[in-house]
């Protein structure tokens, strides 16, 4: 593939704008369309998540664990909204592929479902109205969450003014934003949050939160994979955008994200939670950050290992008793017509 150094010559269509490709045929990026179709097959709704046993569990938790949960849901209360905003304001307009935008539209829907899920969760978990409002205002009130939000806003603002990606600098700024949301926010902040949920889940606590989060996590995994797909595509089309400076910027960005998430962890775990030490949590976050860098083919920062065996449980297929849990494994889309000779 030839290197295109001046993207605004308009000689060939590329994934990033300028340009607004509206035609789906011939399809330039069928892998995005496939991701779109796959996502539809995994549609879930908030009503399917059964929070009935969570309230009893909450009462059983130690004060330290209750603190952890309240901080966690406060983060969730606004986290997905931030991601959705960035998607609308910064990503959608610059992806010059109708099939790519189909996926982003679907992602936006999923973010909305996540927002609704956490809204429902907070309404259930925090019956006191004043406390509930405080939880939703976490971005302003709780310093450890405010610090993470600042980080996000900094990167949202970084390309907010860009109408088109004309220059090399514009395109790099866009990529950094995309990488930030994929690797740092969805790929680290959410992954950090999921670790707490899965810790509780491995102890048999808060099934409602865990099953909803499981579905959220499934969606987020796909969002991240799509974003990395976009990054890889741009990288193949415009390899010169990825130079040492860019690599260093990504490393710095991840280091800062790890810092943000560690100070959040220090807040969550400040009262001591058996089985989840801050030192282990830090190592886990560093490990995740290294993985994101590896996905981008960038040298790791920490060389840390995953200390949490319970995360391993998230990697293997689940078999739950329907008597106890509603399963999340069925496909929504199914095709074909009645036949009697198909192989099975």
């Amino acid at each position: 593939m030839t290197t295109v150094s001046e993207p605004d010559t308009g000689q060939r269509q590329m994934l990033l704008d300028p340009g607004m490709d509206l035609t789906l045929r011939p399809m330039r990026y069928p892998q995005f369309f496939d991701r779109f179709k796959d996502a539809i097959k995994n549609t879930w709704t908030v009503e399917e998540v059964d929070l009935h046993s969570d309230l009893a569990d909450l009462a059983k938790l130690s004060p330290a664990e209750q603190h952890l949960v309240s901080r966690l849901v406060a983060f969730f209360a606004t986290g997905d909204t931030i991601v959705a905003n960035n998607l609308v304001l910064n990503l959608y307009q610059h992806v010059n592929s109708p099939e790519g935008r189909l996926y982003l539209s679907r992602q936006l829907f999923e973010e909305a479902v996540h927002v609704q899920f956490y809204l429902n969760l907070l309404d259930t978990y925090v019956p006191d109205e004043r406390e509930r409002f405080a939880a939703f205002a976490a971005v302003e009130n709780i310093p450890s969450i405010a610090r993470k939000a600042e980080f996000c806003f900094k990167w949202i603002d970084s390309i907010f003014e860009l109408r088109e990606l004309r220059t090399r600098a514009d395109r790099r700024a866009f990529l950094l934003n995309l990488i930030c949301f994929a690797a740092c926010i969805e790929g680290l902040f959410f992954y950090g949050a999921f670790a707490y949920v899965y810790f509780l889940r491995s102890r048999g606590l808060l099934h409602g939160l865990a099953s909803g989060t499981n579905w959220v996590f499934r969606d987020e995994s796909m969002h991240m994979a799509f974003a990395f797909d976009v990054v890889d595509t741009v990288r193949a089309e415009e390899p010169d955008l990825f130079d040492d400076e860019m690599r260093q910027q990504v490393r710095d960005m991840l280091a800062e994200a790890v810092e943000c998430e560690v100070q959040f962890a220090a807040d969550l775990l400040e009262q001591g939670v058996s089985g989840l030490s801050l030192a282990d949590m830090r190592e886990y976050l560093q490990h995740v950050a290294d993985r994101r860098l590896a996905q981008l083919e960038i040298e790791p920062l920490y060389g840390s290992k995953n200390p949490f065996a319970f995360m391993e449980l998230q990697d293997v297929q689940e078999l739950s008793n329907f008597f106890e849990r509603r399963v999340s494994a069925y496909q929504v889309g199914v095709s074909g017509t009645v036949a009697f000779d198909d192989d099975f």
Binding site: Q314, Q331, F344
Partner: protein
């Protein structure tokens, strides 16, 4: 030695950035430094036969997860958890975690001044947990029973099994919630609750403690207690087509659900949407709003805090609301027409399948126009249905409706296909006119007659076949002994059982049905190295089933000789000399025994109208540490999710094989994890080994159906047969279920499939960035990603 931990690491200055000696708080309130040696010693007590376990590793890993100022109880719990988390690397840690847990439970029981079985019963009786009869029985025989407790019994448990027992089965103090019995006391209590002599109790206890047989959960929960509801399944006939009857059914379902029963209920008699209501001259809203109410009622009843209630609704496909029925579990659409807590099953007459095959029309008939249809089967049904078609509300293409059924199965796993005519034609209970099986139960393995005033009941138990097999083959004598004991105690339940609703108390003593099942077929096949779809596997499974059924009949005939036949015996086919294999026209291999049996039955009848049913056994298989019922393994590596938490399950047969070949290495483990529990990509393994360790997703489903059909002549009720398709299509499903019907199966159970996308794996090595090549978009390839479906716990 004291552990000094370097808490600081890179990153910002955070509060814990200082060296400190970790302290734990003891039960008396004093603190002491965490001592790694103490933990090592605690672990070493249990590892005599576990050569791969490293006590120091457990100790240091435990301390790493601890926080300063934790209690010693937290430390104990964390060490159990830590051991459990190492199972993925080395399955022996499962036994270690189980033993640490047993020690923890033991400490909790002894902390309440309970030092023996009889003390535990006396204590729990004082707390109002144990029934008077059992308390008196134990008091009378205290010495003998106390001596019978096997001190090594707990060594047999795997972690997941014992965790389940500890969290859900052991009796707890009503206020403190501390457990008041150890696992061995629990099994002995269950045995005492069903026994008349200490010798009998001890024999039954030993059988259960060996994990070679376990009764179903309601028996394990409630035997010996104040509420001895020990039945698993209830089959409630459809409400009559009137309001009072419908509300009576809600009440009955709630009562049955409260005491751990799983419920099947038909709704075929209730008129459909738009049918005239004479009393008010209005039009009916159909069955959906009523099922919505049932849904809420079922969810509201919590079975003793152990699990939510559960029910399955059966509907015949000629019902005018069938299409709306099939949408009840969809996750989109109007919420007021969705029932997320109900399971759904189609109760299908052969006529429907014939029209599907012939691409004919299918008439939807309102039950108020043809109220006789639910009570008819075979030719009588066919005739009545054809006559009723003149009054059809609507006509559809049979294939269109069948296609919708398949779609529901693919999308929800629900909408089980169960076959009315086979169920009735091949039943011992339908020997006299007027006796009809109207539905199956929550797990589709129970088929019993019922009616408006009689609700069918069944209590269950399952033989662990794995425990009766060595590499040399099946220990037939031991299998027979197990079955004989099992049938006697299943029969005993009928007399001791507490009946939560009068309709159940009427039917059960009349028919005395029991359901003896089987679990661990996959264990047996792994031990004997038989691929699941091999002819030898089919032969083994069939012979085992014949042996179980034959022995069960012999035992029931023996009980009839002592206590007389069950009161409805004259209405059964057996009374006319027709035994279940005769109904199938099946060949038997033990002709002499069958002949002798016929003579005995001819003289004294049978104590039980039905004897064998293969339930899903999800929970008791976990307790016994074997694979579920007759199912192939779902994965070589998977996790179970229950109310107790998440548990990694690994195929220990595979681990043994890999170890023997020097292949149990980190890279291979990662490869298996990445392949989601499949070993098909491990080139180092010979083809025949890979063939042996295929998962349910990798086996031809035809083989599962063939195995089921081959053993079916020796199952007088039915079997919970799950089918697995990772990427179902309507074409595959319609072919598969037509095949199942033609094979003569009475029922099928869940269709299991896999989600189309999955969570990114967090603990496998990152694959280098995917190059933006055009993705393969084969549906099959995309869909081979999973977490896995549920399985039924109702009828264990």
């Amino acid at each position: 030695m004291t552990v000094v931990r370097e808490m600081a690491a890179s990153g910002p200055a955070v509060s814990e950035q200082r060296r400190q000696v970790m302290q734990v708080r003891k039960r008396d309130g004093a603190t002491e430094p965490v001592d790694v040696n103490k933990i090592v010693r605690a672990v070493e007590r249990w590892v005599a036969d576990l050569d791969e376990v490293d006590p120091l590793r457990v100790a240091t890993k435990t301390i790493s997860g601890l926080y300063d100022g934790a209690t010693t109880a937290e430390l104990d719990k964390l060490s159990i958890q830590t051991a459990a988390e190492l199972i993925g690397e080395e399955p022996q840690y499962s036994k270690l975690a189980a033993r640490l847990l047993a020690a923890y439970v033991d400490k909790e029981v002894r902390g309440q001044q309970v030092a023996s079985f009889s003390q535990s019963i006396r204590y729990a009786h004082g707390l109002g947990l144990i029934g008077d009869a059992t308390a008196a029985f134990v008091a009378r025989n205290a010495r003998k029973l106390d001596d019978a407790v096997d001190p090594d019994g707990d060594l047999r448990f795997e972690y997941f099994g014992l965790r389940t027992v500890a969290d859900r089965y052991l009796l707890r103090h009503p206020q403190t919630r501390l457990v008041v019995e150890t696992p061995q006391y629990w099994l002995l209590r269950v045995a005492c609750g069903l026994s008349q002599t200490p010798g009998e109790a001890i024999g039954f206890y030993r059988l259960m403690s060996s994990l070679a047989y376990l009764p179903s959960s309601p028996t394990l929960f409630n035997s010996g207690t104040r509420h001895t509801q020990m039945s698993s399944c209830f089959l409630v006939d459809s409400p009559r087509d009137e309001l009072d009857s419908i509300y009576e059914r809600y009440h009955q379902v709630a009562k049955l659900s409260k005491f751990s029963g799983g419920i099947g209920i038909s709704w075929s008699r209730v008129r459909g949407r738009g049918a005239l209501i004479r009393g008010t001259n209005g039009r009916s809203n159909g069955i959906v709003p009523f099922l919505k109410t049932l849904d809420a009622g079922v969810a509201a009843v919590n079975q003793g805090g152990r699990r939510k209630g559960a029910a399955c609704v059966y509907l015949e496909p000629w019902h005018p609301d069938i299409e709306e029925f099939l949408e009840l579990r969809d996750n989109t659409g109007e919420e007021s027409r969705r029932t997320h807590n109900l399971n759904l099953a189609n109760w299908i007459p052969d006529e429907f399948m014939r029209r599907v095959e012939a691409d004919g029309d299918w008439s939807l008939v309102d039950p108020s126009d043809a109220p006789e249809l639910p009570d008819l089967f075979g030719e009588a049904f066919d005739e009545a249905y054809r006559a009723a078609e003149k009054k059809a509300v609507r006509t559809v293409k049979a294939r269109d409706l069948y296609g919708r059924m398949m779609r529901t199965l693919a999308q929800t796993g629900n909408g089980w296909m169960t076959f009315k005519d086979a169920a009735n034609r091949l039943s011992n209970q339908t020997g006299a006119p007027g006796n009809t099986i109207h539905l199956s139960n929550l797990c589709t393995e129970i088929l019993e007659v019922n009616n408006d005033t009689e609700t069918a009941v069944c209590n269950l138990g399952s033989v662990n076949l794995g425990a009766h097999v060595t590499a040399d083959g099946v220990d037939w004598e031991r299998l027979r002994a197990t079955v004989r004991t099992a049938v006697v105690f299943l029969d005993r339940v009928i007399d001791i059982n507490y009946y939560p609703a009068e309709q159940t108390a009427v039917s059960n003593p009349r028919w005395r049905p029991v359901g003896l099942g089987l679990m661990g077929l996959q264990d047996a096949l792994f031990t004997l190295r038989l691929p699941f779809d091999s002819a030898s596997a089919r032969e083994l499974s069939t012979r085992v089933q014949e042996e179980i059924f034959l022995t069960a009949l012999e035992t029931s005939a023996g009980l009839a000789e002592r206590f007389g036949p069950h009161p409805a015996y004259a209405e059964t086919r057996a009374a006319k000399g027709e035994l279940h294999p005769d109904l199938w026209g099946a060949e038997v291999t033990q002709a002499q025994r069958w002949t002798a049996l016929r003579e005995r039955i001819g003289r004294h009848g049978l104590r039980n109208s039905l004897l064998v049913a293969i339930a899903p056994t999800a929970t008791i298989a976990s307790i016994a540490g074997c694979y579920e019922c007759i199912e192939p393994q779902v994965s070589n590596l998977f996790k179970r999710e229950t109310m107790s938490g998440e548990f990694l399950q690994i195929n220990t047969y595979l681990v043994r094989e890999l170890k023997a070949r020097g292949l149990w290495t980190a890279p291979i483990r990662e490869q298996i994890k990445r392949a989601e529990g499949s070993v098909q990509g491990i080139a180092e393994l010979p083809a025949e080994v890979r063939e042996l360790f295929r998962t349910a997703w990798e086996l031809p489903q035809r083989a599962l159906i063939d195995l089921a059909a081959a053993r079916a002549p020796f199952i007088d009720q039915s079997q919970s047969l799950n089918l697995f398709l990772s990427a179902p299509t309507i074409g595959k499903l319609s072919s598969m279920y037509l095949y199942a019907w033609k094979a003569g199966l009475k029922t099928t159970y869940y269709l299991r499939s896999r989600p189309a996308t999955r969570i990114q794996q967090a603990t496998v090595t990152v694959t280098p960035a995917i190059k933006p090549v055009v993705a393969v978009s084969d549906d099959e390839a995309l869909a081979c990603s999973l977490e896995n479906p549920e399985s039924c716990e109702a009828c264990q």
